[in-house]
Symmetry: C2
Subunit: 338 residues, 2 copies
């Protein structure tokens, strides 16, 4: 038998309103009455109907997050950060996996948008500015990771990809590598990670007066297989690279695989640096040098900021872009220990 506030009121011999006030720790209730109600609550197993509460309060106390791939360590860790914060705020978290598909991302957006959440987190949105702006205008609190949306009045967090890439490539150069290639992400104009990392690569090469040979910029779509085929193409060039910087670790794993197959020694004959610092980097041989993004921190910050927004709807102080610094994690594949 499921009890309602009405049952409690009857049992305690008070009105519904009084029980409600006790439940919500409101003042204006005599200690004596409060005790009476609390005593009843102790003896029975009453669970408030949150749906009714939400209908009345016009809130959902749930947030949503849409990530490209829930089973990728990078995003799983980020979700964990968000989850912690949401939980602290007694707020549910609905996780959606868009499977790297903008269409699916759009349909999930719609799904969440249909009154299922108070706010949502877009991780690397494929949606364009107009779409994001519209959702924001509709009063749903949103926050974005992976794209600077400050100009749209939407808070966001980004990692300084340019700087991370620059550090990585500069590091390779310091080790004496000269023919450095870049394997990027999606080629699409809305792949901001790719664009910024490529720019960092270019700048580092340029600052050190190194030439980027024809074909040295290739794409692997962020997957291991993509990295495999991209590096295979690079090897076929008449003057193959002596080092590769990859826009993520997955692709670096692909490169490593091909290098092993072709008996190319890493780092002796090929320098290699990835991006993201996924856990596998520690276990490959050689271990993978990479650029680390503080995923858990990012998740925590995303959660924190969204929840702040939820509670301060009209405070725009947080609708700004926060840039986090990535960090070069030196391991074996860059040549530091050869």
């Amino acid at each position: 038998m499921i009890l309602t506030i009405k049952d409690i009121a009857k049992k305690a011999g008070v009105s519904i309103s009084t029980v409600s006030r006790v439940l919500n720790n409101k003042d204006l209730v005599k200690d004596e009455t409060r005790e009476k109600v609390l005593k009843v609550l102790e003896t029975v197993d009453y669970i408030p109907n949150y749906t009714a509460k939400r209908l009345r309060e016009n809130t959902i106390s749930t947030i949503g997050i849409i990530v490209p791939d829930i089973s990728a360590a990078f995003y799983a860790e980020m979700i964990k950060g968000v989850e912690n914060k949401a939980n602290e705020a007694n707020c549910g978290l609905i996780v959606c996996d868009s499977q790297n598909d903008v269409k699916k991302q759009r349909s999930y957006t719609r799904y969440l948008y249909d009154g299922r959440v108070d706010g949502m987190i877009f991780v690397v949105p494929g949606l364009d500015d107009n779409e994001l702006a519209k959702i924001n205008a509709d009063g749903l609190s949103i926050i974005v990771f992976g794209k600077d949306t400050e100009s749209l009045g939407i808070g966001s967090i980004t990692v300084d990809n340019f700087n991370g890439a620059y550090q990585a490539v500069k590091h390779l150069i310091l080790h004496g590598y000269k023919r450095i290639a870049y394997i990027g992400g999606m080629e699409a104009h809305n792949d901001y990670d790719h664009q910024a990392r490529m720019a960092g690569y270019r700048q580092a090469m340029d600052d050190n007066h190194l030439e980027i040979a024809d074909g040295y910029i290739d794409n692997g779509g962020y997957t291991e297989e993509g990295g495999t085929s991209a590096f295979a193409r690079l090897l076929k060039l008449k003057n193959p690279p002596d080092a590769v910087f990859c826009a993520n670790d997955e692709m670096a794993l692909g490169v490593l695989k091909v290098a092993k197959k072709n008996s190319i020694k890493v780092p002796e004959e090929l320098g290699l640096i990835g991006f993201d610092n996924i856990r596998i980097c520690q276990y490959t041989s050689p271990t993978l040098t990479t650029v680390s993004q503080p995923t858990l921190t990012i998740g925590t910050l995303l959660g924190e900021r969204l929840i702040f927004k939820l509670h301060n709807k009209n405070n725009n102080i947080i609708n700004t872009n926060l840039v986090l610094k990535p960090e070069l994690i030196v391991r074996e594949s860059c040549g530091c220990y050869k």
Copy 2:
């Protein structure tokens, strides 16, 4: 401006009941009227208030899942399977990370239980039978992974851990290893995985007339560090093992680390098999032989069965335990390619 069904009714010149019927594709509405309503719906941006709908229908169309660690690949993949199915059923998914802590698991249970979900999935529950039975009795649909709860009238999915362990150990024996040790999980009586895998190990040793030396059964708590220290202890025995079977891959990684540090050659001087087939197994050197659990399939099945239950509350056909067969994935660490 947020529209309600009332606004639509007014605009279409019909009653709210009619609009409701159109929205829910009920019959008993004339084509002409339906058209009229649909036309209005096309021109405006009406989003039904799901909270109200749920209050009225006494449903939440949301399920919850509690996993020990969201950022562990094993569970992330499982969640992905659940997520797919939930989404197909137009059902939200709330993910909770209990951080391997029974207390947290309990508080999350309470959190979800408080009218936030229609049903929930317990992945490797630390809760005891009484607790589970109580939740089940309260009419919340639940399903469990990692523990056979059929006798409680709760549907569950388990992997045949005994068989998986048996296969693994037998495989080691076939390669000629004789002094085989086992590194288990939690030692606790409610760590069913551990119990079953240990039993499989014992049986395989017994069937092949091999002795389990003193100290050959140790525990590592499923973490890499745990594996590290457990193997360190094993090495200190006066007759150290020539092979180790670990109750999961994380601990096998720890073993591998210590072996490398002590220049013990795997698989020449030490055979090693793990459990779970996490992705890292493919990248270590040597690559790790392991027992694979079909995580994605498990997730899919969990989602499917829970949603079936939601729609068929009184159908007990599904309150049964489903046993999945694990598969030995042969790689280098077991000695197949030495």
